[in-house]
């Protein structure tokens, strides 16, 4: 039909964005005609203007940095512990018997339900937020590492043993790469939990960060800044997901889905 490949590509890229752009246009029209009160929702132009103003005076960057730092630190702590325990319980039977029941029990408590207790323990300092994020990240990493190790093809393990691989070499060449696809699924889930937990934790008590930005704006009825904060979370979540996909492409090059062409 259409002979021009460039035009076809352009159409393919443009189509998914048509609906959001249309909605944005309607929203802008409704807001500027006064049909929606600015106390309910700001106009897109107002959100953009608020974003520009915050960007210009540097506060946006400051809050973004504070949130990202918490996210990364919490992810490293919770993910690290989850990875370690997942590997241990997946590889060592006795360890599973000792820990798995406890982990499964704690897992069924929604970690955000611990907020009152966490505030009692840590106050409203950094510690509380890091603890919550780490806890949210821990379970998806632990569970997927554990199941990844358990799910390694036993015939490959037998082959490795009969080819003289023992202990560390067996782990490095067979167990870990075999568990990696599942582990990376865990990373993607964990990234979702990481942002969710951080939003809640920052909304409750913080002196900086995007959640603080949003709560502070609410007190001054600045709906434009509130919407901006929500958009920022969406953007950060999308970035984290892209990162996880990139990680899969780098770490699992042997998977047909990740082939270069």
């Amino acid at each position: 039909m259409s002979a021009n490949p460039v035009r076809t590509l352009l159409a393919e890229r443009a189509v998914p964005w048509m609906l959001p752009l249309l909605l944005l246009g309607c929203w802008q029209m409704a807001a500027s005609s006064g049909w929606i009160s600015t106390r309910v929702a700001p106009s897109p132009a107002a959100v953009a203007a608020a974003g520009w103003a915050l960007l210009a005076d540097g506060t946006l960057f400051q809050h973004l940095l504070a949130s990202s730092r918490r996210a990364v630190a919490g992810f490293l702590i919770g993910g690290g512990i989850g990875l370690l325990l997942g590997l241990l319980c997946g590889g060592v039977r006795g360890c599973e018997r000792l820990l798995d029941t406890s982990v499964q029990m704690i897992r069924n408590v929604p970690h955000l339900a611990l907020i009152p207790l966490v505030i009692l323990w840590f106050g409203i300092d950094e510690g509380a937020k890091l603890f919550l994020v780490a806890l949210g990240v821990f379970f998806p990493i632990y569970l997927n590492t554990f199941h990844g190790i358990r799910g390694v093809d036993p015939t490959l393990v037998e082959m490795g043993r009969s080819y003289g691989l023992r202990g560390w070499t067996l782990f490095r060449h067979v167990m870990l790469p075999g568990a990696l696809p599942s582990l990376l699924v865990g990373v993607r889930f964990a990234l979702g939990w990481m942002w969710l937990t951080l939003i809640v934790a920052e909304t409750i008590a913080a002196n900086d960060g995007i959640g603080y930005l949003a709560m502070n704006a609410r007190e001054f009825m600045r709906t434009d800044v509130v919407v901006l904060a929500i958009l920022l979370y969406a953007l950060l979540g999308k970035l984290a997901d892209l990162g996880a996909r990139g990680l899969e492409r780098i770490l699992l090059p042997w998977r047909p889905a990740n082939a270069p062409h």
Partner: protein, 254 residues
């Protein structure tokens, strides 16, 4: 073989292991899989084990590979327990069992000591032996079934085993690829001089490759037949067909 350099060939090849089994028993619960098995396999021999499903031939091979322990009797390889020869024994499985996350050359180099570059060089040589040197950097997932088994063969031979155990390695291949693999295995066995034990349900494969065909039935030797057809063997020859008929008749229970 080149008559002018017999010594060179002798030095290049390894000495096969001699196997001796005395009254070997294996049970799974109340089920007796191998009962009072006595067998002597001399160094460098090519033995094929045939039999119906459940006759104990796979268990027999797993015992030789050290993946199972006997419940009675003794195994001696060159006069000592098999554990002393662990690194001289290599097993080829029915499925190639290549690690999908390692490139072909790294799969072959698996478990080779002595530095990465040296291991890789040895692996490439082995791949050349099975005619797959140009696929060294490929992922195993992109190879055909026959190519995968050739990589598995290279991986087994790269350790210069003195005993090569083959558990129906060609069963899943198409007929033409299987013939190709037979020729390859026969050539490598003649070059390397290892002892070979091949478990198969294909009687023609057994007669084509082995010096000796052993039929297992209910865990003991039902038939032990030397195959003295000179190599390369012609499958259309009368003696070939005759031996095949004799074995098949015994398999089917007269």
């Amino acid at each position: 073989m080149n008559a002018r350099h017999p010594r060179e060939i002798e030095i290049a090849s390894v000495q096969g292991l001699g196997l001796r089994l005395d009254a070997v028993e294996k049970h799974y619960g109340p089920r007796r899989v191998l009962s009072h098995l006595d067998l002597h396999i001399s160094p460098g021999q090519f033995v094929a084990i045939v039999g119906r499903s459940g006759c104990g031939k796979s268990t027999f091979l797993r015992l030789l590979a050290g993946l199972e322990r006997p419940d009675g009797g003794t195994l001696r390889f060159d006069g000592v327990p098999p554990a002393y020869h662990r690194n001289a024994i290599r097993l080829m499985f029915q499925d190639a069992r290549l690690l999908p996350w390692k490139r072909v050359a790294d799969n072959v180099a698996l478990g080779l000591g002595g530095g990465r570059t040296a291991a890789r060089r040895t692996a490439l040589e082995a791949l050349e032996h099975v005619g797959l040197a140009e696929r060294a950097n490929e992922w195993p997932g992109r190879l055909s079934g026959g190519q995968r088994q050739r990589v598995a063969l290279a991986r087994a031979l790269v350790h210069r085993p003195r005993l090569l155990l083959l558990d129906e390695p060609f069963g899943a291949l198409d007929a033409f690829t299987r013939l190709e693999m037979h020729a390859l295995l026969e050539r490598l066995w003649q070059e390397e001089g290892f002892t070979a034990v091949l478990v198969t349900h294909d009687v023609s494969e057994a007669v084509a490759l082995a010096n000796r065909v052993i039929l297992l039935d209910e865990g003991s030797v039902a038939l032990d037949l030397p195959i003295e057809i000179p190599r390369p063997r012609d499958r259309t020859e009368v003696r070939f067909a005759e031996l095949q008929r004799v074995i098949l008749k015994r398999v089917m229970g007269d």
